[in-house]
Amino acid sequence: MGGMDIGQDESQSIVSRSQDSGVRKAGKIMSLREAVAEFVRDGDSVALEGFTHLIPSAAGHEIIRQEKKDLTLIRMTPDLIYDAMIGMGCARKLIFSWGGNPGVGSLHRFRDAIENGWPEPLEIEEHSHAGMANRYVAGASNLPFAVLRGYVGTDLPEVTSTIKPITCPFTGEELMAVLALNPDVTIIHAQQADRRGNVALWGITGIQKEAAFSAKKVIVTVEEVVEKFEARPFGIVLPSVAVNAISIEPRGAFPSYADGYYDRDNSFYEAWDPISRDRDEFRGWMERHILGVDSFADHLRSIDTEEAAR
C-alpha cells in the first residue's frame, strides 16, 4: 500500500515508525548513492518535492541508476524527473496534481504510461494542488486527513478514492476530506546544510517542509555545506533532527532553479520534448546520460559534452 496506509497503522507517531531507539539520530552526511541504497526500497512510497524550484533531479537519477521498482511516486508537479522515472519503469503508481513539462508541453513518458501502459501500467491517484498540499499538511501533523473547500461539483471525487465528504460537527456544513500523505521517504534539494546537519532553503520553498515532515525518512541533497547560515528573506531551516541523510550534490536541481546558485536551464526543458517523445530515443538517451554514468556530476558533464559535439 506504500504511503497510503497511514492512519490505519497501529503506531500513530510518524517519527517513531522510522526510529528504533527512543532518541533520534541527527541527519548525517553521506553520498547520495549510499543514502538512496539505505533509505529507498523497492515498493516504497517516495515523494521528491520542489514546486518547480529546487527539484531534486540528482536524487531522481540515482533512483533510476539503482533500478528501484514498484515505487509509489508522489509529487504535486511530476515533471522531467518523474517522466524519466516512469519511462524507466520505476513506478507502479503516481500520486500527483499537475503533470506537464512547465512552459513547454506534455510529459510524453507520463502520457505513454497512462494512455498505453508503457513500459508498464501506471496506477494514478490525482488531486488538485490544494488537495495535495493539505494531504502533506495532515501527514506532517500526524492526522489521518485534512479538510478543504474544494472538489465539490467536480468529477475528481468519482475517480479518486482519497477524497470523501465530511460534515462539520458544529455547523453541519459538508466539506471535503482528503487522506493524509505519509511517504516512506521524502527527498528534497536545498541550497545549504551546516556542519551540524541543519538544512537551509530560501526563495520559493513550496511544499518542501510539509513533504519532509510528513515522511518516515528524509533525504536532502544540498548545493554545499557551510559554517553558518546567513539571514535570507523568507528562508526556512529544517533542524537536523528532522533529517536522516544529507548528500552534497552541486547543481543537483539542474535543470530547475536553485535560488542564489543558478537559474532554470530552459533549453534543457525544451530539449526534453524530443528526447522523451520517442520510446527508443528516450531509452538511448537514458542509457547514455543516466545509466551509463556514475553520478549526477558525470551526468552534467556527459550532456555538456554531447551539446558541445553538436
Binding site: 514546486f51 512552459g103 490544494a130 488537495g131 520553498t205
Partner: protein
C-alpha cells in the same frame, strides 16, 4: 524613432492578452498562472493597474517580476515579492479564505456554463489524451471572487459535453453553482482569440458579447460546438493601444533577453 508612428499589426494572442489585462482593476488581488495570464497580469501592472497584487500559487505574494516567469517556481517571482509563503498557506490563507479578487484559468475544454476540463479527453480509465490535470484550477474556480478564462476559440475546446469536470463554472446554469457552497462568484468572462463571452445574468450560459477586430460572429459560431448565443448588440474590442503593445512587447523582449543569458 521617426516622427510619425505607424499602427503596428498585432497577433491574436496579443489581442487576447491585452483584452484580459483590461479586465483587471487596480488594487485587485490576482491569482495568476504561467503563460498568457501572467502576461496579462503583468501588462496590467505596467499600465493601468500598478497596484495590482499578484499572487502565484508557488507562494509569492505581491510578486513584481520585471521579466515573465518561466515557471511558477521562477526566482523573479520571489525576488521583489512582498512576502513568500508555503504552498499550503497560499491555498488556505489566501485563496480559500476569499482574499483573491480575480483568478485566471486556462482550459483544454469548456462548456456553455464555463465548466472546465484539464484532465482527460476520452474515458478516464482509457484516455485518448491524458492532459496535465487539475493543478490549482479547481480551487481558483471555487474561491476566487471572479474568474477570467483565457483560451483559443476552437470547436475542440468549446464543447457540448466535457469529458471530465475538473473545475466548476456555473455547473448546470441558473442557480446550480450556489448549491455547492463556494464563496467565489464563478467565471466572469471568457476571453478568446476571436472575442469575449460573458454569462447571461439568469441562465448563466455564456454569450458572445464582443468581437476582436477582424473576427466575425460566423467564425465564433463555427469555433463553438454548441449553438453559441450572441448578444443583441455585439461590441467591438478596442484594438491594443500603442502603449499596450509597446509595454507588452518590451516585457516579452526583456524576458527573451533574460532567458538567453540563462541557458
Amino acid at each position: 524613432m521617426t516622427g510619425t508612428v505607424e499602427k503596428d499589426p498585432y497577433t491574436t494572442d496579443e489581442m487576447m492578452t491585452v483584452a484580459a489585462s483590461r479586465e483587471l482593476r487596480d488594487g485587485a488581488v490576482c491569482f495568476v498562472g504561467i503563460g498568457l495570464p501572467s502576461e496579462a497580469a503583468n501588462l496590467a501592472r505596467a499600465t493601468h493597474a500598478p497596484d495590482c497584487f499578484l499572487v502565484y500559487e508557488s507562494g509569492t505574494l505581491g510578486a513584481k517580476p520585471n521579466v515573465l516567469p518561466l515557471s511558477i517556481g521562477d526566482g523573479v517571482l520571489a525576488e521583489h515579492a512582498d512576502s513568500v509563503v508555503s504552498v499550503p498557506e497560499v491555498f488556505n490563507y489566501w485563496l480559500q479564505a476569499g482574499r483573491v479578487d480575480v483568478g485566471f484559468l486556462g482550459a483544454a475544454q469548456i462548456d456553455r456554463f464555463g465548466n472546465i476540463n484539464t484532465t482527460v479527453v476520452g474515458p478516464y480509465g482509457d484516455p485518448k489524451v491524458r492532459l496535465p490535470g487539475a493543478g490549482g484550477a479547481p480551487e481558483i474556480a471555487a474561491s476566487a471572487k471572479e474568474v477570467i478564462v483565457m483560451l483559443r476559440h476552437t470547436s475542440r475546446a468549446f464543447v457540448e459535453d466535457l469529458a471530465f469536470v475538473t473545475s466548476v463554472g456555473y455547473r448546470h446554469g441558473g442557480g446550480s453553482r450556489q448549491e455547492l457552497g463556494y464563496s467565489g462568484g464563478g467565471p466572469a468572462v471568457i476571453i478568446t482569440d476571436l472575442g469575449v463571452l460573458r454569462p447571461d445574468p439568469e441562465t448563466k450560459e455564456f454569450v458572445l458579447t464582443a468581437l476582436h477586430p477582424g473576427a466575425t460572429v460566423e467564425e465564433a459560431r463555427e469555433a463553438t460546438s454548441w449553438d453559441l448565443k450572441v448578444a443583441g448588440e455585439v461590441d467591438s474590442t478596442e484594438p491594443p493601444s500603442d502603449k499596450e503593445l509597446r509595454v507588452l512587447r518590451e516585457l516579452r523582449a526583456r524576458t527573451e533577453r533574460a532567458r538567453g543569458t540563462r541557458a
